[in-house]
Chain length 347, copies 4
């Protein structure tokens, strides 16, 4: 922790900072420059993290040298975290595709799509039963009924189910059906929800918020890890910028950046990021090439009638093409696509 | 609802759009331009709002002419909404100051600050008992104990209490103590929470999310209104931009813009927006000048020891000065500051 | 200058950084923490500013303690810069209004508007003869003809002229007619242009770029100051954010923030920021309240026929009302509006 | 062009809009909805583009159906533009790598790097002789001396030279040496510069501005095309967002989006976008996978001593590895890398 004093700081203000640090059991390391005095706090500074140092008299700025997240940091956990779900291991270098409809809209479409994405090579089935919708007039999800269809689809296909939890009160219900619990972008800083999924045993797919920095995302992951659940999969899904052609701006550089900062696996959701189906495939290809552990992609058999996110959903035939494109790029970067390879083998 | 067809759209695609509209009970109004065909959907288009029109073959873009919020819109409710809390009426043209500590840290500081802000002219007491904190290692609030101190402070000062609700499960507890229930920026799109506060009777202070457009904010208000609670106070608190000198960028133009779009009252929280105490007073003055219904401001007796948001908190003496500055500007723009005027009268 | 070494940095890497610093005539101040080594560079670090320290082996991050601008910084020039243009002194605490059409569209409209804004209390006349337009199909300005009308308007009204320079080759021409040379937002980082206006003697009004941080803006001012021209007036005019209701997001907090960082005067252009005439007046009022030295506002006699920026232009009668609103707020915050006061006195 | 009237618009206001349209030689197509009147302007609306329709009485909003750029639009020019520079053809589906130092710092480093990047498979040599630097205290480029070293490097290696033009007065000089003239992000809206490079015959590499939307970028390209130069290569180089871990946020979705909007080739500059050398290679791989026509990448033999952009420069050996990674992905997506293939053949 480095404290930079204002040019106008008095000796009293400097002494006062030193005294406060010493009171906290730290030693102060003084560096008197030409124009500024700089004070390093040496010792166990974890207690300092929460102190409002910028309110101390004469302080201009504070540099927190330590990253604010610990459990999520690669510094203290250099090896990649592996998360096993059914037959799949996430984080091991393989590439996994989570696919399915945005919302579960009915039994038949769910089963039909589950079979279609499995045959195309998906490793997980996605589908929302609880839908966070910007407008109260939008379809809000089939709730438990939807979860049941997902479970039935899993039974038929063997694909593990990824589905969103919005409300802590639904946790018992959702965890009964889900294999991976998704926390959506809008709930990335719903800290109570994070603590709850941290205190249970299902893996968590945590999506980056629309205006969340990478550090914010890792602090949200830290909430989950801190409760004891070490199985967190991060998911980049686009951030909000001034560009309006795409729904959000997909930050693919988050993938290699997170790879450096953390040991947790990183997924990419190109569908929500771009919001336009014809941009989904290129961005999915980009996700493999930059080193993601997988993608999450929306597939719908009748996008023109979808109850949510129709414009960004791929039809099953386009999804099949995408899978073979992904396979070629995965080969080029030395990754395996186990779902795809098994699907090919079954043919 | 206007549907712009692609230049390359075929006659079949145009016919298909018309057929779909007619199947929905609408009539299609065709306008064949030099380069584009444009189709207007005429009739009750509310059912169209949720259709994925952009997925329909040959469609280039869709203009939704109607605003997506209705209950919050000034179009259908031209007169200002008035919200009465104790002796105060919000939305009537008066200016109200909500002041107090960021977090309730203890009994004595809460009572001391409540008296201080009341004497300075505040109309409401703020204080967080449940704190949404970016890091799990930060102080998370005193919870019920904090609510009790707030209630005690209200009893002593008569100031109504504004406090945050983070989790739907705490609603019974929080509404027992709060006069106004605050929904924080991070929960602006926690739609389940919005529905719950919409189904109860306390007024709601809804803060704008870090990356929420004005339309997003009004759609979140619509969730509350739609459940039957018409007492929603909006609060601009800064949006996330590339600028890092301030914590967020306070969008004061949101105040006159919301005044046009909606009948709901609009507050401004300069403290969270700028994050630096010495910018709080100028921005609070700006809030009166642009026409806000009030501000929400953090006051702390020992900012250098605050458990949250110390750097942006005003000391009570600085808050008193601010109140007299606000009074002069309120006079200049023809607004009353009833809390201040009564406080002066008591002296 | 503080250099934070990676946790994984070797002793060799630490030694190498020390050796490099010493080679540059600096002494290295070592602070060995529990998890990180931190190296302070002590001495005249100005030569270090440009070194790619982050490329040095083992370096994690670098904190540049010194502000990167010197001439623009209040640290080394605590008193406010005063800029005298004709009878007006900018930066002295008075509030000045620069008003006129976006573009000079003809002789008559220019003269008519010049008289109108003068009678209403403006202190400067604005008008563009060279127009930076996003589209090549838009009106690009009357060029020298426009400058002549501005000069004629100055002769008739006595109002000094503020007009934009876009191309260094036009500097002789523009400075023949202008009293203040405006550098537009799109040219804020046209460094050659900045150097040219720094090497001549007319005051410069420098507008903040759409994505320029306050530090970027001050570095651009530094280019001008560094060439010897100390008369720089800064102008906040909105930054680009995700919000689309307004054309840009007016960052009024830039005013008090710049007040701290620099001694240069600060104007606000609410017209370009919001892009909607009915939001201009509230934001202009806000600008006085937050402490700006003046505003720049677009006035047009026939906005519905304006060749540029019609939607955000005030009609002369609305501008007159605005001036009296500004006067009341200026009184409330202890500022004078000399243009307005003289106009009233002339009546 | 669609004009949406306010709900409160009077019949007179509607009639007035119709009359104005008819005066402009257009016919008005009226659509009277339940809550709104909508007016379509039919005929040659190009004259309407610049009219301030939003200032017309009673108008709520205006939808410009036509894209504001024509020459750059794929609508009127469906086939890809091919640009031939020496032996290379850009836009034909091949992938080209432009590589070299950020700044030309001296003769030897330039020659050494030119040979190194050629041997590794680059197709063009980059290097700045005129440098747009945020601070006046930074290295500003070797100017003509630098251009001469680039020309010498071209002579030795055969690589065509891409170098930046900042000032219209330097155009004769720069075009004497450059094969492709680069317009930097900060000059993307320096419209005078755009017109000048539009009126000469060298191809132009136009970089996206920090806060430029895709439409803005295409309007800037339109300035060049409109002057008669059809050889414009676009370059995505990161936009400014709230994320600070990377220097900018690389918007790889711009590549497929531009592919739809325009026939012009699209490059990606991962170096400036991320600002950290270790993220450059993954993002370069992503660029191939999403379909770019090439990348522009900074290579330096001694990044720790670079006069600009050291932290984001690759060392030649790392660049060689990158080239072979790119080759594998290019193969996977069916693109050729002619520079690389020829370099391998020469070995």
């Amino acid at each position: 922790m480095i404290i930079v004093m204002k040019q106008s700081a008095t000796q009293d203000e400097v002494n006062n900072v030193i005294a406060r640090l010493e009171k906290l059991g730290l030693s102060a390391h003084l560096s008197q420059g030409k124009d500024r005095t700089i004070i390093g706090a040496v010792g166990d500074v974890s207690g300092l993290q929460e102190k409002p140092l910028q309110s101390w008299g004469g302080v201009e700025s504070v540099l927190r040298v330590m990253k604010p997240f610990k459990l999520a940091s690669r510094d203290f956990h250099p090896q990649d975290t592996l998360i096993t779900v059914g037959e799949r291991t996430v984080g091991s270098g393989d590439f996994h595709v989570i696919a399915g409809p945005c919302s579960v809209e009915g039994r038949e479409m769910t089963l039909e799509l589950a079979h279609a994405v499995k045959e195309a090579g998906a490793a997980f089935l996605r589908g929302g039963a609880f839908k966070p919708r910007t407008s109260p007039y939008s379809f809000q999800g089939l709730e438990e009924e939807g979860l049941k269809y997902l479970a039935e689809a899993r039974e038929e296909t063997g694909l593990p189910v990824v589905t969103e939890l919005m409300d802590p009160r639904d946790l018992p219900l959702v965890s009964e059906y889900a294999d991976v619990i998704q926390i959506g972008a809008r709930n990335m800083q719903n800290f109570r929800l994070l603590r709850e999924v941290g205190a249970q045993e299902k893996p968590v797919l945590l999506k980056r918020g629309h205006s969340a920095s990478l550090v914010d995302l890792l602090l949200s992951a830290e909430y989950v890890l801190h409760q004891g659940n070490s199985m967190v999969m991060l998911c980049e899904r686009g951030i909000r910028t001034f560009e309006t052609y795409t729904r959000n701006t997909l930050d693919l550089s988050a993938v290699p950046a997170l790879r450096e900062l953390t040991h947790l696996p990183v997924f990419v959701d190109p569908s929500h990021a771009v919001g336009l189906w014809n941009l989904v495939s290129p961005m999915a290809r980009g996700a493999v090439a930059v080193g993601a552990d997988g993608i999450m992609v929306e597939v719908h058999n009748r996008p023109a009638e979808a109850l949510s996110d129709g414009p960004q959903s791929l039809k099953p035939e386009r999804f099949r093409e995408l899978m073979s494109e992904l396979k070629r790029i995965a080969d080029a970067v030395g990754k395996k696509l186990p779902g795809y390879e098994e699907a090919r083998a079954r043919l």
